[in-house]
């Protein structure tokens, strides 16, 4: 039997090779065929999820909620020390110094990453800004969010903090972060679907012991992870409850 693995479309493009290396490593360890399919956007990935095509997924917290509560997936692990946080930034030349300086009618540039957009909108609330008095343009990547700000095609941009930190120095110097989230509880996680449920303990053990194995450690490095840590059902339920309070 062959399985299908996929990655949340908000992964950093420079890590594509790392996910292929991870998939090869996992296939060897399990002795199972696993095909890695990468989707360009959240909607096409959700369509595959709805059609029960996916067996292993490194999921965005929004999708984790749906996968666990509606599709019978189980969360196994999350990357050590990696949380999803958002940054709101403006063009560095603007006189805006804090969120409260922003006014209705502003143009927001963001990607289709649902948790970053949600966190960004929450951080605009103290300026009495919401979906009704702002304009949103959805772009394909955080690089394009940055470009729109630099060209004054957008007034504020929402970034995944990790993506903002990874912009080139030249780009970042032309931007000014106004606020960063400090939520700490929202994170991506690796989940398996019902067809792999019988192998759940084995897969989790393999992942948790990757740091102890020289090859495994190299694979983690190619993903930019220090290692995986165990998450139990209650950890994930807590995160999903928290997400529910925010939407």
């Amino acid at each position: 039997m062959s399985y299908l693995m996929t990655i949340s479309p908000d992964f950093a493009p420079e890590l594509i090779a790392g996910w292929y290396i991870f998939n090869t490593w996992l296939q060897k360890q399990l002795g199972e065929g696993i095909h890695l399919e990468l989707f360009n956007d959240f909607e096409s990935q959700r369509e595959a999820i709805r059609n029960n095509q996916i067996d292993i997924i490194y999921a965005n917290p929004f999708d984790a909620s749906m996968l666990i509560r509606e599709k019978g997936f189980t969360a196994l692990v999350r990357p050590v020390g990696k949380q999803d946080e958002a940054v709101i930034a403006v063009n560095a030349a603007r006189s805006v110094e804090q969120v409260e300086d922003l006014r209705p009618g502003i143009r927001i540039a963001s990607t289709d990453d649902p948790d970053v957009h949600m966190m960004g909108m929450i951080m605009l609330e103290p300026a009495d800004l919401n979906v009704e008095n702002t304009e949103r343009s959805v772009v394909d990547s955080y690089i394009i969010v940055a470009k729109q700000l630099i060209r004054n095609e957008a007034d504020v941009g929402f970034f995944l903090k990790e993506a903002f930190d990874n912009l080139s120095n030249f780009t970042r110097e032309q931007l000014k972060p106004l606020v960063e989230s400090e939520i700490s509880i929202i994170h991506h996680s690796l989940l398996i679907g019902p067809r792999l449920a019988a192998q759940q303990d084995r897969i989790r053990e393999l992942l948790l012991h990757m740091t102890a194995d020289p090859k495994g450690a190299g694979v983690l490095e190619s993903l930019g992870f220090q290692g995986w840590e165990h998450i139990d059902e209650e950890d994930v339920e807590f995160m999903i409850d928290l997400m529910d309070t925010l939407v």
Binding site: P126, S181, I183, E237, T245
Partner: protein
């Protein structure tokens, strides 16, 4: 529940006696000093079904002025400010006990007698079809909506006291 201590209060307080839904009461001291809500943070807590705190995050500890040890195992009404009408909390409990999500603007009381303003969301934690407790998440409010809520609460308080 234990009364607030004047030793903890910063500024010139007013004194109130609060009575809670469970019949217990508490002497509280209140000042007009607002602790500004920090940008980007969420205050998170969980309670059991009876409203007893089981979990608080760091932002909760920082904003309330209590230590984690002083908060866990205490009723969530340790934060109750006398400017909040009883009807607001009745609405909260009626909503979450019916298994629904509650949103509202809340003025919370700090250990030092000051206050902080939040937009709060409370949801029931449902496990295997049963409500096992509640999660509350508070964030920085819209100042306009907060001001509207405080005006409404002042009217509601007058009606409750009439």
């Amino acid at each position: 529940m234990q009364d607030m201590s004047l030793d903890d209060i910063v500024g010139n307080p007013r004194e109130y006696e609060l009575t809670f839904y469970d019949g217990s009461s508490r002497k509280v001291y209140v000042t007009e000093i607002e602790a500004p809500y920090p940008d980007g943070k969420l205050i998170v807590s969980r309670t059991d079904k009876a409203g007893i705190i089981t979990h608080v995050n760091r932002a909760f500890v920082e904003m309330s002025g209590y230590s984690k040890e002083e908060l866990v195992n205490q009723p969530h009404y340790i934060l109750r400010h006398p400017d909040m009408p009883r009807a607001a909390y009745r609405d909260l409990w009626d909503t979450v006990e019916a298994g629904k999500k509650w949103h509202g603007y809340v003025k919370n009381l700090r250990k030092d007698g000051g206050y902080y303003l939040v937009y709060a969301t409370v949801i029931p934690n449902i496990r295997n079809g049963e409500v096992v407790g509640y999660t509350s998440v508070r964030r920085k409010p819209s100042p306009r909506k907060m001001a509207e809520a405080l005006t409404l609460y002042a009217q509601m308080l007058l009606e409750e006291q009439a």
